[in-house]
């Protein structure tokens, strides 16, 4: 290209921007492996001390397992319901499709504080504050739009003719789901389940209201600790949460590869 200077400028800008974007992530991970009793950078020596505190402390452990349990509940509900809803969107002529979809995306649009307070209010009336199933259900609401957005694009890649063929060969509707649709959409379903899990695992505001004393999740414990003081164990917990995000993104990247490989082999068959 003739204009080399703007291109070089852009490259420099993007490089700097990417470094700044990754800086907070990298810093937290480094701090987590530090040895000091206070936040110091760079750490004078490396240790697993704060991870030992995190994994050795019964309150942090309780928070961890509460988070996992809630995230599993939310993930199962959101993925199952989201899958069927996405299927309905892709395969049927529902009237006012766009309007219905924008209704189902409302959980990401309505400020979480309002959602959380309303859910808290209802939980209070029904005696559900601190109930992990209720929190899981509330998280499923927030995770549903994510599942829906991922599966809408993934199900569009499933050939309707394959379903027609299965039906005409005598397969039941249930059989079409278990033998055709779900296997073909499986990488997408798994991806959406992973992100639903992550959405719940990282959710703070709803948990903050609904947790009570019994069901503190990891983000709630971080929040409570941050209000008191910035203790280094938070860096270890944060690094752990970043690790979970990393695993989810890696698995998702793998699922994408599977999906692409399948698409390629499908087009070779034709």
């Amino acid at each position: 290209m003739s204009n080399g200077a703007p291109v070089r400028g852009l490259t420099v800008y993007v490089t700097v921007a990417c470094l700044v974007l990754m800086l907070p992530i990298v810093i937290v991970i480094i701090l987590a492996f530090g040895d000091q009793g206070y936040v110091k950078f760079p750490p004078t020596s490396l240790s697993l001390r704060w991870f030992a505190v995190f994994f050795g402390d019964s309150r942090w452990q309780h928070a961890l397992w509460t988070s996992v349990l809630i995230a599993i509940i939310a993930c199962v509900i959101a993925t199952a319901l989201g899958f069927f809803a996405a299927y309905a969107f892709v395969r049927s002529d529902i009237r006012a499709k766009k309007l219905l979809l924008s209704f189902m995306l409302l959980p990401i649009i309505i400020p979480n504080v309002i959602t959380a307070i309303a859910m808290y209010f209802m939980a209070g009336r029904l005696g559900l504050v601190g109930n992990v199933f209720w929190i899981g259900l509330c998280h499923a609401v927030v995770a549903l739009p994510i599942v829906l957005l991922i599966l809408l694009s993934s199900l569009q890649g499933v050939d309707l003719n394959l379903e027609r063929a299965a039906l005409s060969l005598g397969c039941s509707r249930f059989g079409v789901f278990t033998k055709v649709v779900i296997p073909l959409a499986f990488p997408g379903i798994l991806s959406s389940a992973l992100f639903a899990f992550l959405a719940s695992f990282d959710e703070l505001i709803i948990s903050l209201f609904l947790a009570g004393v019994r069901s503190e999740t990891l983000p709630v414990r971080i929040w409570n600790s941050l209000h008191l003081q910035v203790e280094p164990v938070i860096a270890a917990v944060s690094a752990f949460l970043i690790g979970v995000t990393g695993v989810v993104l890696l698995l998702d990247a793998f699922m994408r590869q599977v999906r692409l490989a399948r698409l390629a082999s499908n087009s070779n068959d034709r």
Partner: protein, 281 residues
């Protein structure tokens, strides 16, 4: 279709998800608003109280702060994201993957973790101050945390990926041949950008800005942890009325107002964009 006679057309499969949203989102919202607002008294009393809350000093200040911070954040995010999205849309291979990685990883990291990290970075004894002091760039530590600047840094960081991904989706659809044609016809880089590329990307600019602004006005975690006493946004005021003052009707009135504004903006977003493309999905 033969299929629809036998099994229906599949639209029933949407019902469980709709039911979940109605029971766990819509019902709590309606219950909350009706119960708390009915407790205030007659319609006239309710209106009087709503008016006195919305025009109270605390709420007016919080609304002004919310509006100002959200506008600034949207503008900053737009300016910072545009070149990033442009780069993503025009590169392939390793460079593309690397830049996308740097945007996606923070995007999917817990907001509380991202906020905590910035608190550690920009605090009074934070890493940036330590570094600048030891380099001799400054003699006094900078006050960034617990100020409006701190809130801006944190919110821009959290909201940046929304904008980049939205802009990227729009820019990816711009035919690169148009720019080549313009150049071939003698237009310089600046001219072809301002007359061709930018106008074609306006769609992404508008929908990205709308979504960032919508999310920003309801922001709670980052301003609550990184702001100072004067940086109270409306969502924080709502949380405080419930958690500290147990003022449910006050919270309901402010929530109703915020919800109304949010849905109004979402209506505009719905008009101008394809909701399926939300968050660059």
């Amino acid at each position: 279709m033969a299929r629809s006679n036998k099994f229906g057309d599949g639209s029933v499969f949407i019902l469980p998800a709709v039911l979940l949203l109605v029971l766990v989102l819509v019902a709590p919202l309606i219950w909350f608003f009706i119960q708390t607002l009915a407790g205030v008294g007659t319609a006239a009393e309710l209106l009087t109280q709503a008016w006195s809350i919305i025009t109270s000093r605390a709420v007016v200040t919080a609304l002004a702060t919310t509006n100002w911070i959200s506008l600034l954040v949207t503008l900053l995010v737009l300016v910072i994201s545009y070149p990033l999205a442009y780069y993503l849309a025009n590169r392939q291979g390793l460079r593309f993957t690397l830049v996308l990685f740097c945007i996606i990883v923070p995007y999917f990291t817990s907001i509380i973790v991202r906020t905590y990290s910035w608190m550690v970075l920009i605090g009074r004894n934070g890493i940036i101050n330590q570094a600048l002091l030891s380099l001799g760039v400054i003699t006094e530590p900078l006050t960034l945390l617990y100020t409006k600047t701190g809130v801006l840094i944190g919110m821009v960081y959290v909201l940046l990926p929304y904008m980049v991904l939205t802009l990227y989706a729009t820019m990816k659809a711009i035919d690169p041949n148009l720019m080549r044609a313009a150049r071939g016809l003698g237009a310089n880089g600046f001219y072809s950008f301002t007359r061709i590329y930018f106008p074609l990307s306006v769609y992404g600019v508008v929908s990205g800005s709308l979504i960032v602004f919508i999310v920003a006005i309801g922001f709670f975690i980052t301003p609550a942890l990184m702001g100072g006493p004067s940086d109270v946004m409306i969502a924080m005021l709502i949380e405080r009325s419930v958690e500290i003052m147990f003022d449910w009707s006050g919270a309901a009135i402010m929530s109703l107002f915020l919800l109304f504004v949010t849905l109004l903006l979402y209506g505009v977003y719905y008009r101008v964009t394809d909701v399926r493309r939300m968050m660059g999905a």
